[in-house]
C-alpha cells in the first residue's frame, strides 16, 4: 500500500524584546548563569507577573504577517508540571484563549504554491536551562532564560513531506527575522521546532496514529528526522504493526529517532486561567497601529524586485533572503541606477567575500555608496570590468572608496587611441608568424592579439577600444 505522511509543526520562537515577558530582567543571551534574574523570574514566594506589552505587539506582528485573526481578547493560563528548570512549577502560557488563530502561509511545493494553515499563535514564557555536570552526578540550573518571551506557532496538519516541512519552516523563519522580532538562531534555540507526524493510506481521510518528534535543531535535521520517521512508520505499518503514540527524540549522530518513554509521557498539565494576570484586550486601533508598522515581507518584496528591476527570479530570491541584504541591494540600485549590474556585483563578489568570512551584510566594509561609485566608474569607462574585480576586492579589504584605489594604483583605463595604436603596431611587428597565419584565415588568433595588447598595457587598455582598433588595423592588412 502507498502511504502519505501527515505532518503538523509546532514552532517556538524567542522574541527579541529587551526585557522578559513578566518581569524587568534583560533577555540578553550568554551572561553568567543566574545573573539575569530577579525574585519574579526566580519564582520566589509571593511574587507576581506583570505582562510586557511589547511581547503582545511582537506576537501580533507575526499573527498579521501570517494572516491570522487576532482575537479581541486573550488570556493566560498555567501549564503545571514539575521540572527543575521551571521555577514556579508551572509555565505561564495561553490555552483556551490564544492571541491569534486561523492563519496561513504559502510555500513552494513541486513547482507550485501550497497553502499551509496556521491553527494558532500564542505567547508564553521560556523555561531555564539545566547544565549536567560531565564528571559528577549532579546538574546545575541556569534561570537566565526563564521568562524570556516565546511565541508558539502551531500549524494545521497540512504538510505532506519533509521538504514541505522545511519550506514551511524556512518561510516562518524568514518572516520572523524580517519582522525583527526573532533572531532566528536555531543553534542557540531561539527558533525551535517539534513535529507531529502520522501516515495514512494515500487517498484516505482519517489520520493515523501520530508520533511527536523533538530535538531537531536545524532545517537539515528536521528533514532527516521526518524522512526517517516516515520510513520507520511505513515499516511498522507494512509489517502489520501499529504506530505507538509517543514522543520520539531525534538522534543527530545516529540518524534515528528514539522513543522517549517513561514519566514524560501521559502529562496532565492541568491548565487553568492564571489568576495573577488579567485578560488582554486587543482592539482594532491597536491592530491597525501594529499593522502600519509592518515591513514589506519577502514574498511581496520578491515580486516587486522581479517587476521593478527585471532581475532573474533566482537573484530576487537571494537578494530578499534577508531584509538587510535587500536594503543593501536597493540602496546600490538607487545610487547607481543599474539594477542588473548591481545585482551581479552584490550576488557575485560581495556575497562571496562575506560568505568566506561568515560575515553579515550589515558588517560589509563596502558601503552601498562605494559599490554604486564603482559601478559608475565602469559605466563611464574609467575602469574595465576586469579591473573592477581587483578594485572591489581591495574595497572589501580596506573599506576605501573605489576612486582612491583606482587613482593610487594607476588603474585608469587606457581609452586613448593615440596611446594604443603604437602598442598594436609593435605587437603585430613582434609576431609576424601569427600575423601570417591570421591572414591565411586563422580567425582565432584575433584573441591572441587582444591578449598581447592587454598584457603590454598591464590590463589597463579598454577592451572594446582594443577590439575596434585591431579590427580596423587587421582589416586594412588583409
Amino acid at each position: 500500500m502507498e502511504y502519505e505522511p501527515v505532518i503538523g509543526l509546532e514552532v517556538h520562537a524567542q522574541l527579541l524584546t529587551d526585557t522578559k515577558i513578566f518581569c524587568g530582567c534583560t533577555t540578553q543571551f550568554g551572561a553568567a548563569p543566574n545573573t539575569h534574574t530577579c525574585p519574579v523570574c526566580l519564582g520566589m514566594p509571593g511574587v507576581l507577573p506583570v505582562l510586557n506589552r511589547k511581547v503582545v505587539e511582537f506576537a501580533m506582528k507575526m499573527a498579521l504577517a501570517t494572516d491570522c485573526r487576532i482575537n479581541p481578547a486573550c488570556g493566560y493560563a498555567r501549564k503545571n508540571y514539575f521540572y527543575p528548570d521551571l521555577p514556579k512549577g508551572y509555565q505561564i502560557s495561553q490555552f483556551a484563549e490564544p492571541l491569534a488563530e486561523f492563519g496561513h502561509v504559502d510555500i513552494d511545493s513541486n513547482g507550485g504554491k501550497k497553502r499551509i494553515g496556521i491553527t494558532r499563535i500564542h505567547m508564553e514564557e521560556d523555561a531555564g536551562k539545566l547544565i549536567h555536570d560531565e564528571y559528577n552526578p549532579w546538574s546545575y540550573v541556569d534561570l537566565n532564560r526563564t521568562g524570556v518571551p516565546l511565541i508558539e506557532i502551531v500549524s494545521e496538519p497540512d504538510i505532506g513531506s519533509a521538504e514541505e516541512a522545511v519550506a514551511y519552516l524556512k518561510r516562518l523563519h524568514e518572516t520572523l527575522v524580517y519582522l525583527e522580532i526573532c533572531d532566528g538562531n536555531m543553534e542557540e534555540g531561539s527558533f525551535r521546532c517539534d513535529a507531529n507526524i502520522s501516515l495514512r493510506p494515500k487517498g484516505t481521510e482519517a489520520f493515523g496514529t501520530r508520533t511527536e518528534l523533538k530535538n531537531m535543531n536545524s532545517f537539515r535535521n528536521v528533514q532527516r528526522a521526518l524522512d526517517y520517521e516516515i520510513k520507520r512508520q511505513q515499516y511498522v505499518l507494512e509489517g502489520g504493526g501499529e504506530v505507538v503514540q509517543e514522543t520520539r527524540l531525534w538522534d543527530d549522530t545516529a540518524g534515528v529517532t528514539h522513543s522517549m518513554r517513561g514519566k514524560e509521557e501521559a502529562h496532565d498539565y492541568r491548565y487553568f486561567p492564571d489568576p495573577d494576570l488579567v485578560r488582554v484586550e486587543v482592539d482594532e486601533t491597536w491592530i491597525a497601529t501594529v499593522r502600519s508598522g509592518l515591513p514589506e515581507l519577502p514574498p511581496e518584496k520578491r515580486e516587486r524586485f522581479l517587476e521593478d528591476y527585471g532581475i532573474p527570479a533566482y537573484d530576487a530570491g537571494v537578494l530578499t533572503s534577508s531584509r538587510a541584504l535587500a536594503d543593501y541591494y536597493e540602496a546600490v540600485v538607487r545610487l547607481s541606477g543599474e539594477p542588473k549590474t548591481a545585482s551581479n556585483w552584490v550576488m557575485g563578489d560581495v556575497l562571496r567575500f562575506l560568505n568566506e568570512e561568515k560575515r553579515d551584510i550589515r558588517d560589509c566594509p563596502i558601503r552601498p555608496e562605494a559599490l554604486a561609485a564603482m559601478i559608475a566608474l565602469i559605466k563611464d569607462g574609467t575602469i574595465s570590468g576586469k579591473m573592477a574585480k581587483d578594485v572591489v576586492e581591495e574595497m572589501y579589504r580596506t573599506g576605501r572608496p573605489p576612486e582612491d584605489i583606482v587613482r593610487e594604483k594607476g588603474m585608469v583605463q587606457i581609452t586613448d587611441e593615440g596611446a594604443l595604436v603604437p602598442v598594436i603596431d609593435e605587437i603585430l611587428a613582434r609576431h609576424p608568424g601569427q600575423l601570417e597565419q591570421y591572414r591565411a584565415g586563422k580567425d582565432k588568433l584575433f584573441g591572441f592579439f587582444v591578449g598581447q595588447v592587454m598584457k603590454a598595457t598591464q590590463g589597463k587598455a579598454n577592451p572594446q577600444l582594443i577590439n575596434d582598433l585591431l579590427q580596423k588595423r587587421l582589416a586594412a592588412d588583409r
Binding site: M44, G46, V47, L48, P49, D268, F272, D276, L277
Partner: protein, 485 residues
C-alpha cells in the same frame, strides 16, 4: 493605662506631644510580649533588635518634625509577608529557613510610613486552616481562653493584637482568615476589596481570593492602616488603579437613612444562640442609629463552601508547586533522583492539611474533571457575585455574624476537616464576590468569649464599610474590653 494597650491614634497624639518616645513604646511592647508570649505564642519570629533600631529612627524623625502615619507604631506582620532579610515561613516546614530577598509592597508601605515591626506572627500553614493549629511552629492560644484556638489562619496576628503584644497587625484573608480570628479574639479585622491592597510579596494561597488587611484594637486604627496600605501597585496586575480616599474622613458620619440588609441565609441552623443574640442586638443598634434594616436574600449562599473548596485548593495546588526543594526551602536529603527529591521534599515539607488541599486542587484541575469542577465552580462564583451586586443595589451595607460559633477548643476540630471548614461559612462569600468585609466585636458569651459582627459593602466601598463599623462601635462600645492575661 499601659502604653502597649493603647491604639494607634492614641499613641500618635502622645508621640506628637512628646509625652512618649517610640523607643519607650517599643520597649513596653517587647516587655509585654515577653510577659504574654509563653502563654499565647502569637509569634513565630520576634524582631526585637531591628524594631528597636526602627524606633530610634522614629524618634529622630519625630524630633525632625517628620511625623508620618505610623511613625513609631509597633506593628506585627503575619508570617506570610515577605520581609527582606528576615525569614518568612508561612507557618510551614518547607519555608522554615527561607529568607526573602525582597519586601512585600505592604511591608514597604508600612516601613515608609514609619512603622516599627515587632515580628512575624503565627498562622495556619500556607494560610490553610481556621484555627492556627496547622502551623509547623506550634499552637497559638486565644488570649480570652488559653484552652481555645484564636481562629485562623491569621490567628497569631489576631491574638497578638488581643493580647496587646503589638499595637496593630496585618493579616491576609482568603476565606475569612482576618475576620474569623478577629471575631474570635475580640478585635477589629478588615478584609478590603480584591485589588485594593497589593498582594505583591504576600505568599500566595489562592490568588483570586487572597487579600491583605489590618487587625486593630478599634475601627479608627483600621482606617489609619488602610490609608497606608491601600492603593494601586504596578507590580500586581490585579491591583486596581482606583483612587484611595481618606478613610478616616468616613468615621464620624453616622448611618442615618441607610438601608442595611440582613441576608436571611446567614441566620440558620448551626448558628450558636449566643452569637445570634449578640448579632441581633447589633442589628438593633444599627436601627437605633437611623438605618432601615431589611431582610435580603443571597440565594446562592448554600454553594459558597463547595465553590470555595474547589477554587481555593485548585489555585493553591498550582501556587505551591514552586516548593520543590530546588532553589530554596526544605530539600529532603534522601532523594536518589529528581522525582524522589521532589516527592520526599514535599512529603516532609508540607503538613497534612496543605497536602489535602493540594490533592483536592490537583484533582479538580485534572483533565476530564476540569469542566465539572473548576469551570463549574467559576460559573457558580459569578452567580454568587451577582447575588451581592443585586443586594447592594438596594442596600448600603449587609450585616451578618462573622462566625457561626465563638472560639472552639484546641483540638476540637482537627480530626474533622469538614467541621473546621464550616467555621468559615459566613466569611467565604465575601472573598468569592471580591467585596470588602469587616468584623467588629459585638459582645461576649456567658463564658466571656468574644463575638463578632460582620459588615459588608460593595466593591471599593471600604469608606462606607468603616463608616458603619465606626458608627456601630461608638454606640455598642465593645472594643475597649481586653482579655485578662
Amino acid at each position: 493605662m499601659e502604653l502597649y494597650a493603647l491604639t494607634i491614634h492614641e499613641l500618635q497624639d502622645r508621640l506628637k506631644a512628646g509625652e512618649v518616645t517610640a523607643g519607650a513604646l517599643a520597649r513596653a511592647v517587647f516587655d509585654r510580649i515577653r510577659a504574654v508570649e509563653p502563654e499565647v505564642h502569637a509569634y513565630i519570629t520576634l524582631l526585637e533588635e531591628p524594631a528597636l533600631a526602627q524606633a530610634d529612627r522614629a524618634d529622630r524623625a519625630i524630633r525632625d518634625g517628620d511625623l508620618r502615619a505610623l511613625t513609631g507604631i509597633p506593628i506585627a506582620l503575619k508570617d506570610i509577608f515577605c520581609t527582606r532579610g528576615f525569614r518568612t515561613t508561612c507557618g510551614s516546614r518547607i519555608l522554615e529557613n527561607f529568607v526573602p530577598p525582597y519586601d512585600a509592597t505592604v511591608v514597604e508601605k508600612l516601613a515608609a510610613a514609619g512603622a516599627v515591626f515587632t515580628g512575624k506572627t503565627n498562622m495556619d500553614e500556607f494560610a490553610m486552616g481556621s484555627s492556627t493549629e496547622t502551623s509547623y511552629f506550634g499552637l497559638t492560644r486565644n488570649p480570652w481562653d488559653l484552652d481555645r484556638i484564636p481562629g485562623g489562619s491569621s490567628g497569631g496576628s489576631a491574638a497578638a493584637v488581643a493580647a496587646d503584644a503589638c499595637i496593630a497587625a496585618l493579616g491576609s484573608d482568603t476565606g475569612g482568615s482576618i475576620r474569623q480570628p478577629a471575631a474570635l479574639c475580640g478585635v477589629v479585622g478588615l478584609k478590603p476589596t480584591y485589588g485594593r491592597v497589593s498582594r505583591y510579596g504576600l505568599v500566595a494561597f489562592a490568588s483570586s481570593l487572597d487579600q491583605i488587611g489590618p487587625f486593630t484594637k478599634d475601627v479608627e486604627d483600621a482606617a489609619i492602616l488602610m490609608n497606608v496600605i491601600a492603593g494601586y501597585d504596578p507590580r500586581e496586575s490585579t491591583s486596581v488603579p482606583e483612587d484611595v480616599p481618606d478613610y478616616r474622613a468616613f468615621l464620624g458620619r453616622g448611618i442615618d437613612g441607610w438601608t442595611v440588609g440582613i441576608p436571611k441565609e446567614y441566620f440558620v441552623a448551626g448558628l450558636d444562640p449566643e452569637v445570634e443574640r449578640a448579632v441581633r442586638d447589633a442589628i438593633g443598634v444599627i436601627e437605633g442609629l437611623g438605618a432601615r434594616c431589611i431582610e435580603v436574600s443571597l440565594p446562592h449562599t448554600e454553594h459558597c463552601l463547595a465553590v470555595y473548596y474547589i477554587v481555593a485548593p485548585a489555585e493553591a495546588s498550582s501556587n505551591l508547586a514552586r516548593y520543590d526543594g530546588v532553589r530554596y526551602g526544605y530539600r529532603s536529603p534522601d532523594g536518589r533522583d529528581l522525582m524522589e527529591m521532589f516527592k520526599k521534599s514535599r512529603s516532609a515539607g508540607f503538613g497534612a492539611e496543605v497536602k489535602r488541599r493540594i490533592m483536592l486542587g490537583t484533582y479538580a484541575l485534572s483533565s476530564g474533571y476540569y469542566d465539572a469542577y473548576y469551570k463549574k465552580a467559576s460559573q457558580v462564583r459569578a452567580l454568587i457575585k451577582n447575588d451581592f451586586d443585586a443586594a447592594f443595589r438596594t442596600c448600603d451595607a449587609l450585616v451578618t455574624p462573622t462566625t457561626p460559633t465563638p472560639a472552639f477548643r484546641i483540638g476540637e476540630k482537627t480530626d474533622d476537616p469538614l467541621q473546621m471548614y464550616l467555621s468559615d461559612i459566613l466569611t467565604i462569600s465575601t472573598n468569592l464576590a471580591g467585596i470588602p468585609g469587616i468584623s467588629v466585636p459585638c459582645g461576649y458569651t456567658a463564658a466571656g468569649l468574644p463575638v463578632g459582627v460582620q459588615f459588608q459593602t460593595a466593591h471599593f466601598a471600604e469608606g462606607k464599610l468603616l463608616q458603619i463599623a465606626a458608627a456601630y462601635e461608638k454606640h455598642a462600645n465593645f472594643t475597649k474590653r481586653r482579655p485578662k492575661l
